[in-house]
Symmetry: C2
Subunit: 350 residues, 2 copies
DNA sequence: TTGTATGCGTTATCAG
DNA sequence: CTGATAACGCATACAA
């Protein structure tokens, strides 16, 4: 007994059904799959016996033949609010289309992301839905898979160089909306908690930030830009440092709500007024930011929709009999304006 | 071509390796699994060819033989903070022990929980880790699986009648700590947002709540107990109603942080002082509660540890060659005391 | 030390 | 209408 480990009682196979009825396997198989050419009485007998023996087709055997598992692999950096919602969207679409979802978290580690990819490939998922870890740089492994025409859909965090199907946010627009709003509220020195430098979302939001400043004729002060991991405590400390400066900023925009919350804690600790002295805008519109004092403005996107859409694109590829060309779908974010950034009465409260 | 749908380029099989070297399949198989009785030269040649062809064993074929997929099915009601952390713990242990995790969310729906169970069973998971939906009542399906000795571990929300392996919290202790603390702070009319009546965690926490009141000689006022789903808005409205009463409560304890946040919003809206007029204690210690004004006290547990432990118990069963007897592991919660409930200076701030 | 044959559970292709 | 058999990719008992 080399196949070690405990195994539950063996379920009935198609063979058992056939034997019990003294007919051949193929007849049972045909009866079960509603093929024509099968006697009604035989079919009824099979159906009854199947019920009696609680027979269920062995998916593994089917997979061996079709080389399909009806399983989708999902690789995400973490399970924070955004990705939880995205996973819910993916699982939702998977349920509708008859797939099951295998989820692995990279914990923001590129190494673990690669390990998870291999893990899922070994488990023979039919396709992959990926959002990169914050220290992801190398795309070699994905390129190799894509070269073999293995179906992958990237969402949210997707390497810009990679020629693959993606569902992403219009991050430039999101950042632009945030910065425009801050400028309209009278802010002139807008600091930016920029997140991990190599992530596409960071880079795109940075473009939106800088372009908007320039569009309004404001100078870009690189010393007001702080790169970091998605670490609330780091944002807290960075903000304290920004507040120490004689020319301290009059607004802070952050690449994620996690960071803007860190900023909020630092500012409140210093007793500086929000939004009068410093206005705040975050990104993702997590539920928590609307509960804080003051409620924090944030760029909102629907992670659920993004997840559903990513799953949809993947399933479309899986159900297609030819290779679909890569496409990039860009979703539009909307700014939720709240007390943390509203200094004047002109703009309506969102 | 009945096997519809696109499939990526076929990977090399053990046959390809054998053919390329003009040797038999079994020799390749042996060489690969470091069996003795195999010529060093042959082994080297095989290894080289395997590298060259990028051959990887087909797990599906292996699964067909062993009837094991090295996959764990996870069924959870949602992916809020608690369950996200639990899933992280499960995935962590799975990675360590060579398993992959299939996750399905029931969205608090018993029907969907059943559908997901079938979905995972069809996908031939080796075992199941389950936390029930809030409207779960019927345990028939699990009983049937357990009767077949199919390995299942329940965690957090586990039906009390079911004779199965469980990892749960000492909910009575958690509620007792919370209520004791409130009483020590001078509260005498403690309302309870009790959650779904049929959930084991609700029932256990209710026992802790009532027993503690009685222990301190306080009467139980059933009109201060409100059942509900895990719905923040419902808690908000229930609290508004409680506040209308002439004999309004001087404290609210809630079965979950989601509900206590709803209560907080209602109380702040009414301009009632926390903790002077009403003290608050929640359950789960989600990060959000420590960020609110005032920070809310909460009964803390480690969802991550619970997840890891549940996975550990399941893997132990999977790796054992006999059926392990059901066991229930009970974890101890600790109360985090914060401003929402601290009226006196005697107890230290947790 | 290596090769051959059988089986895992199912479908598909033939014959009958 | 039904049955026998090959095949999916691999491990393994048995032969050589």
């Amino acid at each position: 007994m080399n196949r070690s480990g405990y195994r539950p009682d063996k379920p009935a196979t198609i063979k058992d059904v056939a034997r019990a009825l003294n007919i051949s396997i193929s007849t049972v198989s045909r009866a079960l799959r509603n093929m024509p050419d099968v006697n009604q009485d035989t079919r009824q007998a099979v159906l009854r016996k199947v019920e009696e023996l609680d027979y269920q087709p062995n998916q593994i055997a089917l997979s061996l033949i079709t080389q399909k598992t009806h399983t989708i692999g999902v690789i995400i950096p973490n399970l924070d609010y955004f990705f939880s919602m995205a996973v819910r969207g993916i699982d939702d679409m998977a349920l509708e289309t008859g797939y099951t979802v295998m989820i692995c978290q990279s914990n923001e580690s590129f190494t673990r992301e690669m390990v998870n990819t291999q893990r899922l490939m070994k488990g023979h998922v039919d396709g992959l839905i990926v959002s990169n870890a914050s220290d992801s740089i190398n795309t070699e492994q994905y390129e190799r898979l894509l070269a073999k025409n293995f179906p992958i859909v990237f969402f949210d965090r997707a390497n810009a160089q990679l020629n693959a199907t993606k569902v992403i946010l219009d991050n430039i627009s999101g950042a632009s909306q945030a910065v425009t709003h801050l400028i309209e509220q009278g802010c002139r020195r807008i600091a930016y908690l920029a997140g991990p430098a190599n992530l596409s979302i960071s880079q795109q939001r940075m473009i939106g930030y800088k372009d908007t400043l320039q569009k309004f004729g404001l100078t870009i002060d690189e010393s007001l830009i702080v790169y970091s991991e998605f670490d609330r405590d780091f944002a807290y400390r960075s903000t304290l440092a920004l507040l120490e400066r004689p020319d301290r900023p009059d607004a802070i925009f952050a690449v994620s709500d996690r960071l803007i919350v860190g900023a909020l804690l630092a500012i409140k600790e210093k007793g500086i007024k929000i939004p009068e002295d410093i206005a705040l805008v975050g990104f993702n519109d997590e539920p928590v930011v609307s509960l804080l004092s003051p409620p924090i403005s944030s760029v909102a996107q629907s992670a659920f929709d993004m997840g559903r859409l990513a799953a949809k694109l993947l399933v479309d590829q899986l159900n297609s009999d030819h290779v679909l060309p890569p496409q990039t779908i860009m979703l539009k974010p909307t700014l939720k304006k709240r007390a943390s950034s509203i200094r004047r009465f002109d703009p309506p409260i969102g």
